[in-house]
Symmetry: C2
Subunit: 332 residues, 2 copies
């Protein structure tokens, strides 16, 4: 398939670099201010004559901060089969990502999202656009990085899934793991995480549970819409429907107390077709939910098949690109 990649951060760049290995061509790349579109007659790509020069783009972005001489609108207007929306997650109206998705669907192209905004905040609008389009919408990469959470719920069928819960934010999990392992307090471990690049300079999105909550909202939408007899009647979730508590107020003393009882603390998110809740919870220190470091785990409760646990890397350029390219493979 021919891909237009919108967003040239770690995830977008990884998609550009790996698409060829999955048998796909990248025909356009855009960041917030620039774009490069492959000339269909050009042979300046990595060998197939149809795609952009992945290496050149990644180098140019690293050296100059832009990907090309064109305008982002050029990428949206290019001749592609799948739009990969990998721009930063925004809340509320989920713009500009939502408009990118709408443009593609109105052109009857497929959309694969890593951007959580449209899927968490405007799921109903997204479903409506998809219903009117010959293109499909997939969003495995929005939940759990490399973990096939959405596609597994899809295969079991949302109507046969009663709940999905897990550790969905690697930054928060890393901090809690280190606090428990070293007996250090939150501020100390946060600094360590920032030095390692595991936490951002402004870590609030991760440590306040917002990122985990958006992922749970997405899962709740999948369960709600997928399990409804009529999607028009399905309850739609957005971030404001989530009950969210982060890890800033977890004192080292709670972890020490928990350890004496064979337990520890993890930031657990849970979604059903009716509720979304994120909060620190006590879990058995050797239990399934007590994944370590930046690992994520998704636990799916099913009607006929008991509980499934899927753990793996929840974030990262290649990991998330792998989920995106897996979605491309599952398209029509």
């Amino acid at each position: 398939m021919r891909l237009a990649v919108i967003g040239a951060g770690a995830v977008g760049r990884s998609v550009v670099e790996l698409a060829g290995e999955y048998g796909h061509e990248v025909v356009a790349v855009a960041d917030s201010s620039s774009a490069v579109v492959a000339d269909a007659s050009s042979d300046s790509s990595a060998g197939n004559g149809l795609g952009v020069d992945a290496e050149a783009i990644v180098t140019r972005k690293a050296e100059t901060g832009i990907v090309g001489d064109g305008d982002p609108a050029d990428a949206l207007a290019a001749d592609y089969d799948v739009l990969v929306e990998a721009t930063p997650t925004t809340l509320g109206d989920a713009e500009p990502g939502f408009s990118h998705v709408r443009t593609a669907l109105e052109r009857d192209r497929h959309v694969v999202l890593a951007n959580k905004g449209p899927v968490a905040e405007r799921y109903g609008d997204l479903q409506a656009l998809a219903a009117d389009s010959a293109g499909d919408v997939r969003f495995e990469a929005t939940v759990g990085g490399a973990i096939p959470a959405v596609s597994t719920v899809e295969d079991i069928e949302p109507g046969h899934v009663t709940a999905v819960r897990g550790v969905l934010n690697g930054t928060a999990n890393f901090i809690l793991t280190r606090m428990a392992a070293e007996g250090l307090d939150y501020d100390h471990v946060l600094s360590e995480a920032q030095d390692l690049g595991v936490a951002e300079a402004d870590p609030s999105f991760d440590v306040d549970g917002t990122d985990a909550a958006l992922k749970c909202v997405i899962l709740a939408n999948v369960l709600s819409f997928g399990g409804a007899d009529d999607p028009a009647d399905a309850r739609e979730f957005s971030l404001e429907d989530a009950s969210v508590e982060g890890i800033r107020d977890v004192p080292g003393s709670v972890l020490r107390l928990a350890a004496e009882d064979g337990r520890t603390v993890r930031l657990i998110g849970e979604a059903t077709g009716e509720t979304v809740r994120v909060a620190p919870r006590l879990v058995h220190e050797n239990g399934t939910l007590a994944v370590s470091g930046t690992q994520n785990i998704v636990q799916i409760e099913t009607t006929h098949a008991g509980r499934l646990n899927i753990s793996g890397r929840g974030a990262g350029g290649p990991e998330t690109a792998s989920a995106i390219l897996g979605d491309v493979g599952r398209l029509g």
Copy 2:
């Protein structure tokens, strides 16, 4: 879709009972000596006028040992979209299961297998029949029960998977778990397992590692054929290619020694595109591979997404039926 279910053991009966919940109709059911085929004009089914009476069939099988008055050939000749092959696994020529599959594919129908025989012992023949058929072949239910092992490898793409390993037999795992937990020896725990229905009267298929090996052979075939540039050049695996060691010779003393070092023993199977190996191995007692009781775990090593772990129920009627019906949902 209309399903013809061949095999009326626990798995076949569960498919018959659950198909309606997934939006499918069962139009024919056969066991080794009998069959029942729905009359297309009949309304004696569970309400849709097209399917068999699931409850009546399950009751009749329980009370009389047969499912109906027809001949198994009637089921194979019925008008169905998908043949579900759920007869007992046989080795070597994998008959009669293989012929059931061939009949369906030559009629351009889809096939979904729970029977490991054709997939482990005659993978090349199976692929050739599928290539010449308008029908597709899927076999999620042959590996790991409710665990989506095959579809996850398929989505990541076999060429991006370097190895798949795990605990793939619940009977052997239950025995080892109980030996470690209670300090009992193999023979004692085997009796307990047989009393609980976790082990068969003749447990060799499970405790000798044959069942786990067949599952690993299937995974090796998926990696080998899926990762090959030309399937005609792919190496084909069968049970005789597997190096297999079971759990009969694991003494209680090994488990006690291991426990002193924070380890335990699990029957681990591993498949790559080049090798298949099943043997008892030392694992960390709280490590990911140390699942307990009858649980299974599949660990997938990927090129770009690190390691994925998927654990859950590896066997059971509803669990395996869930995998079969998930496959039906993924068909063209």
